[in-house]
C-alpha cells in the first residue's frame, strides 16, 4: 500500500516562502497570481495491514506539526 501525505502551513500562518515565490512569478510577468502557499508531499510505502489510521497517527506524531501545519492523507 502506498500513502501520500500533504502537509501545508495552516491558513493564517504566514508563508514567507510562498510569498517569495509569488513575487518571483510576478517578476516573470505572471501577473494573475494572487497567492502562493508552499507545502510538502511525503510518499509512504507501507507493508500489508497498515491502515489510514496508522498514517494519521504518523502525521500527528511526526510528519506534521499541528501547531502550524495541517495535513491530508491520500491512500493510493
Amino acid at each position: 500500500m502506498k500513502a501520500r501525505v500533504h502537509v501545508m502551513l495552516k491558513n493564517g500562518v504566514l508563508d514567507p516562502q510562498g510569498e517569495a515565490v509569488r513575487h518571483a512569478l510576478g517578476a516573470l510577468g505572471f501577473d494573475k497570481v494572487e497567492g502562493v502557499r508552499q507545502g510538502k508531499v511525503i510518499d509512504l510505502e507501507l507493508a500489508e495491514g497498515a491502515t489510514e489510521a496508522d498514517v494519521t497517527n504518523m502525521c500527528e506524531k511526526l510528519l506534521a506539526n499541528t501547531v502550524i501545519e495541517s495535513y491530508s492523507v491520500e491512500i493510493q
Binding site: V13, L14, P16, Q17, A20, L62, L63, N65, V67, I68
Partner: protein, 222 residues
Amino acid sequence: MKAAVVVFPGSNCDRDLAVAFEQAGFDVSMVWHKDSQLPEGVDIVGVPGGFSYGDYLRCGAIAAQSPICKAVVDHAERGGYALGVCNGFQILTETGVLPGALLRNAGLKYICKTVDLTVATSDSAFTQGYNAGDVIGVPIAHHDGNYYADEATVQALKDQDRIAFTYVDNPNGSVADIAGILSENRRVLGMMPHPERAADDGHGGTDGAAMFRALSGLLTEA
C-alpha cells in the same frame, strides 16, 4: 550543582553552552542523543543550538523524537530546569514542553548578528539577574526563528508573564516580538538568541553571563 548538555548529530553550540555553565560554577556533563537517561542528580538540562539531524522535516522535529528527549521531557515534567537555545528552543516546542513553533524568518534570510533584547520579566531563575525593562545585547544566528503561536496562546503567555525576552527591533517576524518564553512553571526557558555567546569577555559582550550566574546562585541555594 549539575548541568547536562545534550549533544545531537549537528549540534554546534553544545560546547559553548557547556563552557557558559562551567564558568558559572556548574559541574557539566555532555549527554549523547542516543542515551535514554540523564545523569543522576542533574539540576538543569541545556538543549543547545545547531542543526540537529540536519533540520530534516522541520527544525527540531527528529531530535524531539530521540531517546534523550524523552528523558528531557520527563525531567521538565518532574519540575526540573531546562534551557533551550536556538535549535534547542525549536526542539522544546516540537516536544510540546513549550508552546508555539518557530517558522522561517519573515525576510527568508539567515540572520547572524547581535541584537538588542528587552528583558520582559525578571521573575524566573533565568532572568532574575536582570531587571525587567533592561536592554541586553545577545547574538542571534538562525534561519527559522520566527516565533508563532495562535492568539489565545500568545495572550496566555502575556497574562501569565511568561514572555522572558522580546526583540527591540524584531528581526524575524516573531509574533509580539517574542525572543524567548517560559514554561508554565517558569522552569523551562526557550529562546532563539544565544546567551552562551555573550558570556565571556572574548565574545565581545557579556550580557548573557547574568543568566548563568543567576541559575548557579539559585540552584546552589536549593
